[in-house]
Symmetry: C2
């Protein structure tokens, strides 16, 4: 392994000078600079980021844990975070929790030990107690899509409730009254809030809320499929719903694929709505009416919040990111 010492020797300067040059210090003569750069090239030398992190007590690194990076929602979130920190000179390290408490814990622990100086966590399986423990020991950890009482300033969310109200109202405005709801089986904040939005909007429109119309499944494509099957088996024979509001676009996609396989036409037979407005939702046929969830904005907010906390600055409670309705073609007007 070639080290800074090798470069120094070859360039005929001290290691301090090499360090200065490679870190862009101005207080170096052109002559030294040239010699160092030349030697670096010749040796194919890279500064060792681990050693740097140790010496500087700064890893130049931000950590994020998500459920699964191949999930389009999280892919988008990770990209957004990466964009947000790149210009600041940080690098992103990603951990995956796989909807599993053990894995979530390990992912968080790993990122902490890497000395990330920012930590964004989307944990849906970990219990509140454990999470509180983390929040207490890691003052710069910020939660995504989940709120723990007493730690509101460390929890970044979007306005799930308002979003679900919007989309369910749109269904109702199109004449639907028998509306099923597919929810995530991980009962963290966002799923509760969306369910609440669904229920309240029904009530507000004097529609009886029927718990039998709510089915839960993992918040994945497969989960959407499972939920669709459950709905079809239990409910289609008696035709007691004309629309289904889904927890997320991803679940809606799974549901729609299953519906299609069962020759059920959307929106002619059943209307469908999503949540998130992933690019995926515009590729579906029919294009999905959904709620725009500005993941990018949320990621940026979470990052800057985490960075501030790291610096020891106090931060205000974050406002819920505003969401909005995106009307496409997955709702049929009925009377």
């Amino acid at each position: 392994m070639t080290t800074i010492r090798d470069v120094a020797r070859l360039a005929n300067v001290s290691v301090a000078t090499v360090s200065r040059v490679l870190n862009g210090s101005t207080k170096v003569s052109q002559k030294s600079k040239d010699a160092v750069l030349q030697a670096q090239k010749e040796l194919g030398f890279y500064l060792n980021a681990n050693a740097r992190a140790l010496a500087q007590r700064d890893s130049h690194t931000i950590g994020i844990v998500v459920s699964e990076i191949s999930d389009p929602y999280f892919g988008t979130a990770v990209s957004a975070c990466d964009d947000a920190i790149h210009d600041l000179g940080y690098n992103l390290i990603v951990g995956q929790g796989y909807h599993n408490a053990e894995r979530e814990k390990r992912a968080i622990d790993d990122l902490i030990s890497y000395q990330c100086r920012g930590l964004i966590v989307h944990a849906l399986a970990l219990d509140e107690e454990t999470l509180k423990g983390y929040l207490d020991t890691i003052p710069y950890m910020v939660l995504l899509n989940r709120v723990i009482k007493g730690y509101e300033s460390r929890c970044q969310t979007c306005d799930n409730y308002a979003g679900e109200c919007l989309v369910v109202q749109e269904l109702i405005d199109n004449g639907h009254t028998k509306i099923a709801f597919i929810n995530s089986s991980h009962r963290i904040l966002d799923s509760d809030e969306r369910l609440e939005g669904y229920i309240d909007t029904l009530k507000k429109n004097h529609i009886q809320y029927d718990p039998n119309l709510v089915v839960m499944a993992p918040p994945s494509l497969e989960g959407g499929s499972t939920a669709a099957q459950a709905l079809l088996e239990r409910l289609l024979p008696v035709k007691d719903f004309t629309a289904v509001a889904c927890y997320s676009d991803v679940m809606a996609a799974g549901l729609m694929a299953t519906m299609r396989d069962h020759k059920i036409k959307i929106p002619d037979d059943i209307s469908v709505t999503g949540f998130d407005n992933l690019y995926l939702s515009s590729c579906l046929t029919p294009a999905l009416t959904t709620v725009d969830n500005p993941v990018k904005k949320m990621a940026e907010e979470a990052i800057s919040r985490s960075l501030m906390l790291y610096e020891g600055e106090s931060v205000p409670e974050p406002h819920k990111i505003d969401v909005s309705l995106v009307i496409r073609d997955s709702i049929k007007k009925i009377n």
Copy 2:
């Protein structure tokens, strides 16, 4: 910052003992072990991964660079790599190249400086010379979906040619002779091979190859959309194609969305095929006929190859990963 020394002090043992306990060494008395674990918990202590990497000369880290993690193809690839290394106790660090030579370079440089002990690179914008330079200095770097002459044992690909032959033949078997091809505008190996498969299959079936039927665009959703527009403007008025084979599922998805917006029915008006068999392709309507590209297998091969190279073992030239046809509903039988 609390260090191993603090733990040692609190547990009334030496730092060496703390290190032993925390690294699972067997040669520690139960008494010491308990004391250390207790102190660790009390202090909320984590080993510093940077210091560990430095002392052990092993970062326990594998690097991968992809174009964009929010692209479903790369999301899948990254997940697959993560799965492959997790059980080995490694962690994955992801870099993004954004279809851009500068960014690709920076991503690779970053991963090198993190002392990753495995490096998987999907670079589509970087020129061959630069890539060769990297391959020469980083003996454990492995390329994905791209082959550089003279470095074949460091290049992992799937059988792009065979795959495209399969899918184009399927089109022809269904009566299509006017087949357009949407290709990636990054002319690295995979796009060339797929184009070649397209051309050769036409020829083999005595169909004249018409370069005007090939359009190129970035290998993204937007690219698929752009390509669709180009095809429609230039070609629809004269109706000179009945099918379009796409470089990837992602491009096919973009194309299909645009077609839908133009009221063109798939497969009734135009048949479409993809490549990769992402879960996305089964969600499209109609479900996409495509080529199954076992990303997971490819990732595993690439990882184990990189790890072997790191150990200084010599590796044979990799075989191209086998692909297979997945028939769904996006091809119309015509005569």
